[in-house]
Amino acid sequence: MHPKRKQRLMLIGFLLAGFSVVIGLAMFALSENINLFYNPTQIAAGDVPSGAKIRAGGMVREGSVSRDETTLLVSFVLTDYNADVRVQYKGILPDLFREGQGIVALGRIDENGHLVAEEVLAKHDENYMPPEVMDALEKSGYSDKMNQGYQYEETQQ
Protein backbone atom coordinates (compact mmCIF):
# COMPACT_ATOMS: atom_id res chain seq x y z
CA MET A 1 0.00 0.00 0.00
CA HIS A 2 1.12 3.52 -0.74
CA PRO A 3 2.66 5.05 2.42
CA LYS A 4 0.41 8.10 2.19
CA ARG A 5 -2.70 5.90 2.06
CA LYS A 6 -1.39 3.87 4.97
CA GLN A 7 -0.97 7.08 6.91
CA ARG A 8 -4.53 8.18 6.17
CA LEU A 9 -5.86 4.75 7.12
CA MET A 10 -3.96 4.88 10.41
CA LEU A 11 -5.23 8.36 11.15
CA ILE A 12 -8.84 7.35 10.54
CA GLY A 13 -8.32 4.20 12.58
CA PHE A 14 -6.96 6.14 15.54
CA LEU A 15 -9.72 8.72 15.37
CA LEU A 16 -12.43 6.06 15.24
CA ALA A 17 -10.83 4.05 18.04
CA GLY A 18 -10.58 7.15 20.20
CA PHE A 19 -14.14 8.11 19.50
CA SER A 20 -15.39 4.59 20.29
CA VAL A 21 -13.52 4.61 23.58
CA VAL A 22 -15.15 7.91 24.55
CA ILE A 23 -18.61 6.67 23.60
CA GLY A 24 -17.93 3.35 25.32
CA LEU A 25 -16.90 5.04 28.57
CA ALA A 26 -19.92 7.34 28.46
CA MET A 27 -22.22 4.38 27.90
CA PHE A 28 -20.54 2.46 30.69
CA ALA A 29 -20.99 5.37 33.05
CA LEU A 30 -24.61 5.71 32.04
CA SER A 31 -25.37 2.02 31.83
CA GLU A 32 -27.70 2.05 34.80
CA ASN A 33 -29.72 4.79 33.17
CA ILE A 34 -29.80 3.15 29.78
CA ASN A 35 -31.38 0.07 31.30
CA LEU A 36 -35.08 0.30 30.63
CA PHE A 37 -36.10 -1.28 33.91
CA TYR A 38 -34.98 -2.39 37.36
CA ASN A 39 -35.03 -6.03 38.45
CA PRO A 40 -37.08 -7.04 41.50
CA THR A 41 -33.74 -7.85 43.15
CA GLN A 42 -32.62 -4.24 42.79
CA ILE A 43 -35.97 -3.00 44.09
CA ALA A 44 -35.88 -5.34 47.08
CA ALA A 45 -32.31 -4.23 47.84
CA GLY A 46 -33.43 -0.60 47.90
CA ASP A 47 -31.36 0.45 44.88
CA VAL A 48 -34.38 2.27 43.57
CA PRO A 49 -35.17 5.89 44.41
CA SER A 50 -38.31 5.87 46.50
CA GLY A 51 -41.17 8.00 45.27
CA ALA A 52 -39.64 8.40 41.82
CA LYS A 53 -41.32 6.96 38.77
CA ILE A 54 -39.50 3.80 37.71
CA ARG A 55 -39.92 0.81 35.47
CA ALA A 56 -39.72 -2.67 36.92
CA GLY A 57 -39.21 -5.71 34.73
CA GLY A 58 -39.56 -9.40 35.47
CA MET A 59 -41.84 -12.38 35.23
CA VAL A 60 -45.40 -12.59 36.47
CA ARG A 61 -45.24 -15.26 39.16
CA GLU A 62 -47.55 -18.16 38.42
CA GLY A 63 -50.67 -18.19 40.57
CA SER A 64 -50.09 -14.68 41.89
CA VAL A 65 -52.55 -12.77 39.71
CA SER A 66 -55.69 -11.62 41.47
CA ARG A 67 -58.30 -9.51 39.74
CA ASP A 68 -61.07 -7.42 41.18
CA GLU A 69 -64.08 -8.28 39.06
CA THR A 70 -65.74 -4.86 39.33
CA THR A 71 -62.91 -2.30 39.18
CA LEU A 72 -60.31 -3.63 36.71
CA LEU A 73 -57.87 -3.64 39.61
CA VAL A 74 -55.16 -6.26 39.11
CA SER A 75 -52.52 -7.33 41.54
CA PHE A 76 -49.67 -9.72 40.83
CA VAL A 77 -46.17 -10.60 41.93
CA LEU A 78 -43.24 -9.64 39.73
CA THR A 79 -40.25 -11.92 40.15
CA ASP A 80 -36.78 -12.60 38.77
CA TYR A 81 -36.62 -15.88 40.73
CA ASN A 82 -34.43 -14.14 43.28
CA ALA A 83 -36.68 -11.46 44.73
CA ASP A 84 -40.34 -10.51 44.43
CA VAL A 85 -42.24 -7.25 44.13
CA ARG A 86 -46.00 -6.96 44.33
CA VAL A 87 -47.52 -4.84 41.58
CA GLN A 88 -50.90 -3.14 41.68
CA TYR A 89 -52.40 -1.91 38.47
CA LYS A 90 -55.70 -0.52 37.37
CA GLY A 91 -56.41 -0.60 33.69
CA ILE A 92 -56.38 -2.71 30.58
CA LEU A 93 -53.56 -5.22 30.31
CA PRO A 94 -51.84 -6.05 26.98
CA ASP A 95 -52.94 -9.20 25.15
CA LEU A 96 -49.73 -10.98 26.02
CA PHE A 97 -50.14 -10.48 29.76
CA ARG A 98 -50.43 -13.84 31.48
CA GLU A 99 -48.86 -15.77 34.30
CA GLY A 100 -45.27 -16.69 33.57
CA GLN A 101 -44.96 -13.84 31.04
CA GLY A 102 -42.19 -11.25 31.14
CA ILE A 103 -43.56 -7.75 31.66
CA VAL A 104 -42.35 -4.21 32.31
CA ALA A 105 -44.40 -2.02 34.66
CA LEU A 106 -44.08 1.75 35.01
CA GLY A 107 -44.99 3.24 38.37
CA ARG A 108 -43.90 4.29 41.87
CA ILE A 109 -42.92 2.23 44.88
CA ASP A 110 -45.28 2.93 47.78
CA GLU A 111 -44.47 2.76 51.51
CA ASN A 112 -45.25 -0.97 51.62
CA GLY A 113 -42.68 -1.67 48.94
CA HIS A 114 -45.39 -2.36 46.38
CA LEU A 115 -45.22 -0.99 42.88
CA VAL A 116 -48.27 1.07 41.98
CA ALA A 117 -48.23 0.82 38.21
CA GLU A 118 -49.63 3.27 35.69
CA GLU A 119 -48.68 1.24 32.66
CA VAL A 120 -47.98 -2.44 32.09
CA LEU A 121 -46.13 -3.57 28.96
CA ALA A 122 -45.65 -7.17 27.89
CA LYS A 123 -42.20 -8.40 26.94
CA HIS A 124 -41.68 -11.42 24.77
CA ASP A 125 -38.62 -13.35 23.68
CA GLU A 126 -37.26 -14.44 20.32
CA ASN A 127 -38.62 -17.99 20.70
CA TYR A 128 -41.46 -17.87 18.21
CA MET A 129 -43.45 -21.06 17.91
CA PRO A 130 -46.67 -22.36 16.36
CA PRO A 131 -49.37 -23.07 18.99
CA GLU A 132 -49.41 -26.84 18.34
CA VAL A 133 -45.67 -27.08 18.87
CA MET A 134 -45.97 -25.13 22.11
CA ASP A 135 -48.72 -27.48 23.33
CA ALA A 136 -46.51 -30.46 22.63
CA LEU A 137 -43.58 -28.82 24.38
CA GLU A 138 -45.67 -27.96 27.41
CA LYS A 139 -46.73 -31.58 27.72
CA SER A 140 -43.10 -32.65 27.71
CA GLY A 141 -42.21 -30.02 30.33
CA TYR A 142 -39.94 -27.95 28.11
CA SER A 143 -41.55 -24.60 28.71
CA ASP A 144 -39.62 -24.03 31.94
CA LYS A 145 -36.54 -23.51 29.84
CA MET A 146 -38.08 -20.58 28.03
CA ASN A 147 -37.94 -17.00 29.25
CA GLN A 148 -34.69 -17.69 31.01
CA GLY A 149 -33.54 -14.19 30.15
CA TYR A 150 -35.68 -12.73 32.89
CA GLN A 151 -33.85 -14.48 35.64
CA TYR A 152 -31.57 -12.48 37.82
CA GLU A 153 -28.02 -12.48 36.57
CA GLU A 154 -25.27 -12.01 39.11
CA THR A 155 -22.87 -10.74 36.44
CA GLN A 156 -25.00 -7.75 35.57
CA GLN A 157 -24.43 -6.00 38.83
Binding site: I34, N35, L93, L96, Y128, P131
Partner: protein, 251 residues
Protein backbone atom coordinates in the same frame (compact mmCIF):
# COMPACT_ATOMS: atom_id res chain seq x y z
CA UNK B 1 -1.79 -8.39 -2.75
CA UNK B 2 -3.31 -7.77 -6.14
CA UNK B 3 -5.01 -4.42 -6.45
CA UNK B 4 -6.13 -4.67 -10.06
CA UNK B 5 -9.71 -5.59 -9.23
CA UNK B 6 -9.79 -2.84 -6.68
CA UNK B 7 -8.60 -0.22 -9.14
CA UNK B 8 -11.05 -1.45 -11.75
CA UNK B 9 -13.83 -0.98 -9.21
CA UNK B 10 -12.70 2.59 -8.91
CA UNK B 11 -13.30 3.17 -12.60
CA UNK B 12 -16.80 4.60 -13.04
CA UNK B 13 -17.03 3.45 -16.64
CA UNK B 14 -16.22 -0.15 -15.70
CA UNK B 15 -18.77 -0.15 -12.91
CA UNK B 16 -21.38 1.47 -15.13
CA UNK B 17 -21.14 -1.47 -17.54
CA UNK B 18 -21.05 -4.19 -14.88
CA UNK B 19 -23.97 -2.71 -12.93
CA UNK B 20 -25.91 -2.24 -16.14
CA UNK B 21 -25.52 -5.91 -16.93
CA UNK B 22 -26.80 -7.09 -13.57
CA UNK B 23 -29.36 -4.74 -12.08
CA UNK B 24 -32.31 -6.03 -14.12
CA UNK B 25 -32.09 -9.71 -13.22
CA UNK B 26 -31.30 -8.81 -9.62
CA UNK B 27 -34.48 -6.76 -9.47
CA UNK B 28 -36.57 -9.50 -11.09
CA UNK B 29 -35.24 -12.19 -8.77
CA UNK B 30 -35.79 -9.97 -5.75
CA UNK B 31 -39.39 -9.24 -6.75
CA UNK B 32 -40.04 -12.97 -7.13
CA UNK B 33 -38.47 -13.73 -3.75
CA UNK B 34 -40.26 -10.88 -1.99
CA UNK B 35 -43.62 -11.98 -3.41
CA UNK B 36 -43.03 -15.61 -2.44
CA UNK B 37 -41.84 -14.60 1.01
CA UNK B 38 -44.76 -12.26 1.65
CA UNK B 39 -47.42 -14.77 0.59
CA UNK B 40 -45.63 -17.54 2.48
CA UNK B 41 -45.40 -15.42 5.58
CA UNK B 42 -48.95 -14.09 5.46
CA UNK B 43 -50.79 -17.24 4.40
CA UNK B 44 -48.79 -20.41 4.97
CA UNK B 45 -46.50 -19.72 7.91
CA UNK B 46 -48.07 -20.74 11.23
CA UNK B 47 -49.12 -18.15 13.78
CA UNK B 48 -47.21 -17.70 17.03
CA UNK B 49 -48.46 -19.40 20.18
CA UNK B 50 -48.38 -16.11 22.11
CA UNK B 51 -48.88 -13.36 19.60
CA UNK B 52 -51.16 -15.06 17.12
CA UNK B 53 -51.20 -13.44 13.70
CA UNK B 54 -49.49 -10.18 14.61
CA UNK B 55 -46.29 -12.26 14.56
CA UNK B 56 -46.52 -12.11 10.75
CA UNK B 57 -45.21 -8.53 10.86
CA UNK B 58 -41.81 -10.13 11.50
CA UNK B 59 -41.57 -10.94 7.77
CA UNK B 60 -41.37 -7.23 7.02
CA UNK B 61 -39.78 -5.97 10.22
CA UNK B 62 -36.68 -8.18 10.42
CA UNK B 63 -35.57 -7.88 6.75
CA UNK B 64 -35.90 -4.09 6.78
CA UNK B 65 -34.09 -3.82 10.11
CA UNK B 66 -31.22 -6.04 8.86
CA UNK B 67 -31.03 -4.07 5.62
CA UNK B 68 -31.01 -0.75 7.48
CA UNK B 69 -27.85 -1.81 9.32
CA UNK B 70 -26.16 -3.56 6.36
CA UNK B 71 -26.74 -0.49 4.23
CA UNK B 72 -24.94 1.62 6.80
CA UNK B 73 -22.01 -0.80 6.91
CA UNK B 74 -21.77 -0.60 3.13
CA UNK B 75 -21.74 3.19 3.31
CA UNK B 76 -19.06 3.12 6.00
CA UNK B 77 -16.89 0.84 3.85
CA UNK B 78 -17.36 3.20 0.94
CA UNK B 79 -16.52 6.18 3.13
CA UNK B 80 -13.30 4.55 4.29
CA UNK B 81 -12.18 3.65 0.76
CA UNK B 82 -13.13 7.12 -0.38
CA UNK B 83 -11.02 8.78 2.28
CA UNK B 84 -8.01 6.50 2.08
CA UNK B 85 -7.81 5.65 -1.60
CA UNK B 86 -9.50 8.82 -2.94
CA UNK B 87 -11.82 6.71 -5.00
CA UNK B 88 -14.45 8.90 -6.64
CA UNK B 89 -16.98 6.10 -6.97
CA UNK B 90 -17.13 5.64 -3.19
CA UNK B 91 -18.99 8.91 -2.77
CA UNK B 92 -21.49 7.83 -5.43
CA UNK B 93 -22.23 4.68 -3.44
CA UNK B 94 -22.95 6.79 -0.37
CA UNK B 95 -25.17 9.11 -2.42
CA UNK B 96 -27.14 6.17 -3.80
CA UNK B 97 -27.40 4.24 -0.54
CA UNK B 98 -28.33 6.95 1.98
CA UNK B 99 -31.97 7.43 0.90
CA UNK B 100 -32.41 3.66 0.69
CA UNK B 101 -31.06 3.24 4.20
CA UNK B 102 -33.37 5.97 5.46
CA UNK B 103 -36.36 4.25 3.85
CA UNK B 104 -35.48 0.85 5.31
CA UNK B 105 -34.82 2.30 8.76
CA UNK B 106 -38.11 4.17 8.68
CA UNK B 107 -39.93 1.00 7.65
CA UNK B 108 -38.24 -1.03 10.40
CA UNK B 109 -39.26 1.58 12.98
CA UNK B 110 -42.78 1.85 11.59
CA UNK B 111 -43.45 -1.89 11.45
CA UNK B 112 -41.87 -2.22 14.89
CA UNK B 113 -44.22 0.40 16.31
CA UNK B 114 -47.28 -1.18 14.72
CA UNK B 115 -46.15 -4.61 15.95
CA UNK B 116 -45.43 -3.25 19.41
CA UNK B 117 -48.94 -1.94 19.95
CA UNK B 118 -50.74 -5.30 20.08
CA UNK B 119 -47.85 -7.28 21.60
CA UNK B 120 -46.11 -5.01 24.10
CA UNK B 121 -49.04 -2.69 24.65
CA UNK B 122 -47.27 0.44 23.39
CA UNK B 123 -46.21 1.99 20.09
CA UNK B 124 -42.93 3.28 21.39
CA UNK B 125 -40.70 3.00 24.41
CA UNK B 126 -37.34 4.70 24.91
CA UNK B 127 -35.35 1.53 25.35
CA UNK B 128 -31.78 1.21 24.08
CA UNK B 129 -32.62 -0.72 20.90
CA UNK B 130 -35.42 1.53 19.71
CA UNK B 131 -33.52 4.71 20.51
CA UNK B 132 -30.37 3.52 18.73
CA UNK B 133 -32.47 2.68 15.68
CA UNK B 134 -33.96 6.17 15.73
CA UNK B 135 -30.42 7.56 15.86
CA UNK B 136 -29.65 5.52 12.74
CA UNK B 137 -32.57 7.16 10.93
CA UNK B 138 -31.26 10.59 11.88
CA UNK B 139 -27.77 9.60 10.69
CA UNK B 140 -29.16 8.73 7.27
CA UNK B 141 -31.18 11.94 7.16
CA UNK B 142 -28.12 13.87 8.33
CA UNK B 143 -25.98 12.43 5.54
CA UNK B 144 -28.64 13.35 2.99
CA UNK B 145 -29.07 16.85 4.42
CA UNK B 146 -25.31 17.44 4.47
CA UNK B 147 -25.02 16.39 0.85
CA UNK B 148 -27.83 18.62 -0.28
CA UNK B 149 -26.51 21.59 1.69
CA UNK B 150 -23.08 21.63 0.02
CA UNK B 151 -22.35 22.03 -3.68
CA UNK B 152 -20.55 19.14 -5.34
CA UNK B 153 -16.94 19.40 -4.26
CA UNK B 154 -14.03 17.57 -2.74
CA UNK B 155 -15.05 19.03 0.61
CA UNK B 156 -18.54 17.54 0.36
CA UNK B 157 -17.07 14.10 -0.32
CA UNK B 158 -14.78 14.33 2.68
CA UNK B 159 -17.31 15.71 5.13
CA UNK B 160 -19.90 13.12 4.11
CA UNK B 161 -17.38 10.33 4.53
CA UNK B 162 -16.34 11.57 7.96
CA UNK B 163 -19.94 11.86 9.14
CA UNK B 164 -20.66 8.31 7.91
CA UNK B 165 -17.55 6.94 9.64
CA UNK B 166 -18.31 8.61 12.95
CA UNK B 167 -21.86 7.25 12.86
CA UNK B 168 -20.66 3.68 12.38
CA UNK B 169 -20.25 3.42 16.16
CA UNK B 170 -24.02 3.32 16.35
CA UNK B 171 -24.14 -0.04 14.54
CA UNK B 172 -22.60 -2.22 17.30
CA UNK B 173 -24.73 -0.29 19.78
CA UNK B 174 -27.87 -1.28 17.87
CA UNK B 175 -26.70 -4.86 17.59
CA UNK B 176 -25.70 -5.41 21.20
CA UNK B 177 -28.18 -3.07 22.89
CA UNK B 178 -30.48 -5.99 23.68
CA UNK B 179 -27.62 -7.84 25.36
CA UNK B 180 -25.88 -5.01 27.20
CA UNK B 181 -28.97 -3.44 28.74
CA UNK B 182 -32.45 -4.31 29.89
CA UNK B 183 -34.72 -3.52 26.96
CA UNK B 184 -38.31 -4.16 26.04
CA UNK B 185 -37.11 -5.39 22.67
CA UNK B 186 -36.33 -9.11 22.49
CA UNK B 187 -32.90 -10.43 21.40
CA UNK B 188 -32.04 -11.03 17.75
CA UNK B 189 -34.14 -13.38 15.65
CA UNK B 190 -31.36 -14.28 13.23
CA UNK B 191 -27.72 -14.62 14.16
CA UNK B 192 -24.91 -16.00 12.04
CA UNK B 193 -23.71 -18.42 14.66
CA UNK B 194 -26.84 -19.89 16.17
CA UNK B 195 -29.90 -21.68 14.92
CA UNK B 196 -32.97 -19.44 14.99
CA UNK B 197 -35.20 -20.12 17.98
CA UNK B 198 -38.17 -21.03 15.84
CA UNK B 199 -39.15 -23.92 13.59
CA UNK B 200 -38.24 -23.95 9.87
CA UNK B 201 -41.81 -23.30 8.72
CA UNK B 202 -41.42 -19.92 10.40
CA UNK B 203 -37.84 -18.96 9.59
CA UNK B 204 -37.57 -20.22 6.00
CA UNK B 205 -40.03 -17.60 4.66
CA UNK B 206 -38.18 -15.02 6.76
CA UNK B 207 -34.90 -16.05 5.14
CA UNK B 208 -36.53 -15.75 1.71
CA UNK B 209 -37.61 -12.21 2.59
CA UNK B 210 -34.15 -11.29 3.87
CA UNK B 211 -32.42 -12.57 0.71
CA UNK B 212 -35.03 -10.89 -1.48
CA UNK B 213 -34.48 -7.59 0.34
CA UNK B 214 -30.71 -7.80 -0.09
CA UNK B 215 -31.08 -8.40 -3.84
CA UNK B 216 -33.59 -5.55 -4.05
CA UNK B 217 -31.17 -3.26 -2.27
CA UNK B 218 -28.24 -4.34 -4.48
CA UNK B 219 -30.21 -3.66 -7.64
CA UNK B 220 -31.28 -0.24 -6.38
CA UNK B 221 -27.72 0.69 -5.42
CA UNK B 222 -26.48 -0.40 -8.86
CA UNK B 223 -29.08 1.77 -10.57
CA UNK B 224 -28.49 4.69 -8.24
CA UNK B 225 -24.71 4.59 -8.76
CA UNK B 226 -25.23 4.40 -12.54
CA UNK B 227 -27.32 7.56 -12.38
CA UNK B 228 -24.65 9.28 -10.29
CA UNK B 229 -21.94 8.22 -12.76
CA UNK B 230 -23.85 9.66 -15.72
CA UNK B 231 -24.28 12.92 -13.87
CA UNK B 232 -20.71 13.33 -12.71
CA UNK B 233 -19.00 12.02 -15.82
CA UNK B 234 -21.29 13.98 -18.10
CA UNK B 235 -18.38 15.79 -19.74
CA UNK B 236 -16.41 12.61 -20.47
CA UNK B 237 -16.33 11.40 -24.03
CA UNK B 238 -17.57 7.90 -23.23
CA UNK B 239 -20.77 9.34 -21.77
CA UNK B 240 -21.21 11.55 -24.81
CA UNK B 241 -20.80 8.60 -27.14
CA UNK B 242 -23.10 6.48 -25.02
CA UNK B 243 -25.93 8.99 -25.02
CA UNK B 244 -25.40 9.95 -28.65
CA UNK B 245 -25.71 6.40 -29.94
CA UNK B 246 -28.44 5.16 -27.63
CA UNK B 247 -31.94 6.42 -27.01
CA UNK B 248 -32.94 7.81 -23.67
CA UNK B 249 -35.05 4.77 -22.80
CA UNK B 250 -32.54 1.99 -23.45
CA UNK B 251 -29.30 1.37 -21.58
Amino acid sequence: MKWTFFHKLGSPRWFYDIAGRHYAWLMMLSVVLLCIGTIWGLVFAPEDYQQGNSFRIIYLHVPTAILAQSCYMMMATAALTGLVWKMKIADMFIAAAAPLGAAFTFLALFTGAVWGKPTWGTWWVWDARLTAMLVLLFLYLGVMALRSAIEYSDMREKSTAILVLVGVINIPIIKYSVEWWNTLHQPATFTLTEKPAMPPEMWVPLLVMVIGSYLFFTSLVFQGVRNEILQREARKSWVKKLLATEGSTSD
